[in-house]
Subunit: 170 residues, 2 copies
């Protein structure tokens, strides 16, 4: 067992020994979802004030709304959420490369067959060159999507990894 | 401003006032990623023992590995992670419906133009009928993918929303 796997087991032992929230309902109690980045420097529960059971939390590289459509539709249409809090962040890796860079790195590192799998999946890494504009673009994308009804409240934010602050953009 | 937006601002005020981790590096310090569900009843940091800065956390509906490929490739190829901890959970919403059910709900709730957008995106909601089998299937998918090199350690787990325990499956 790896060190990381041992760490999961130790955390489970500790967390479950004082766990008292075994009867929470499946649908989020506060009927909202947070979409943020997978970045290791973000702890959504603490930074954005999410109590256990209150909100869906979707995380992917860059907090991409396009990438999150499947999860968002399930959250809203099947589990009754009516508000989206979208949070991108300073220092995001997605600001640092373009699709062709990533394709080149994969081909060099993993070979031609991996590059072929990338192409077969038509994988767009969805990087973005400017942070606040990307927040606005993603909010616009959600507002324009027929899959997100107009009754859903959407806000866009930037989390500062340097200060721990979350600031509203749109 | 909505109640939920006010809550984000209040959390930001509180969190940033005692924040001391503004100098963490972009790449995860412990070089791993956790892939888990967006479910509101999961707090990955506490339940799986993730310290700020240590791991990427990817979350989507059902902890789907297929849905997470873009983020996983970025995590490994661009940011140097070498281990995947995949955690699905008891009581998952993805166990409760089939694609045709979700398509029907979207069409009834949002109308024909939304259903057309679903079809245009060829959206597969990726539900699964059996929990432990789904963990095994997703681990196999990652092991088989040319985009995940054999050197990456992969484990599959189930988190129990009733007990707070995380158990290794594969």
């Amino acid at each position: 067992m790896s060190t990381i796997q041992k760490n999961v087991e130790a955390a489970s032992e500790s967390y479950s020994s004082t766990f008292t929230k075994g009867d929470l309902a499946l649908p989020p109690a506060k009927k909202y979802l947070v979409l943020t980045c997978m970045d290791a420097r973000i702890d959504p529960a603490s930074a954005f004030g999410i109590e256990l059971g209150d909100a869906h939390v979707i995380r992917n590289a860059g907090a991409s709304a396009v990438d999150a459509v499947r999860s968002i539709v399930i959250s809203e249409q099947l589990l009754g959420t009516t508000e989206i809090v979208l949070v991108k962040h300073t220092g995001c890796g997605m600001l640092t490369f373009k699709n062709e860079d990533a394709y080149g790195i994969v081909e060099k590192s993993l070979g031609a067959s991996a590059a072929a799998e990338l192409k077969a999946r038509s994988l767009d890494f969805l990087p973005f060159p400017e942070l606040e504009q990307a927040v606005k673009d993603d909010v616009k994308f959600l507002q324009a999507s027929k899959l997100v009804p107009d009754s859903v409240t959407i806000s866009g934010w930037v989390y500062e990894v340097e200060t721990g602050k979350t600031k509203r953009i749109v």
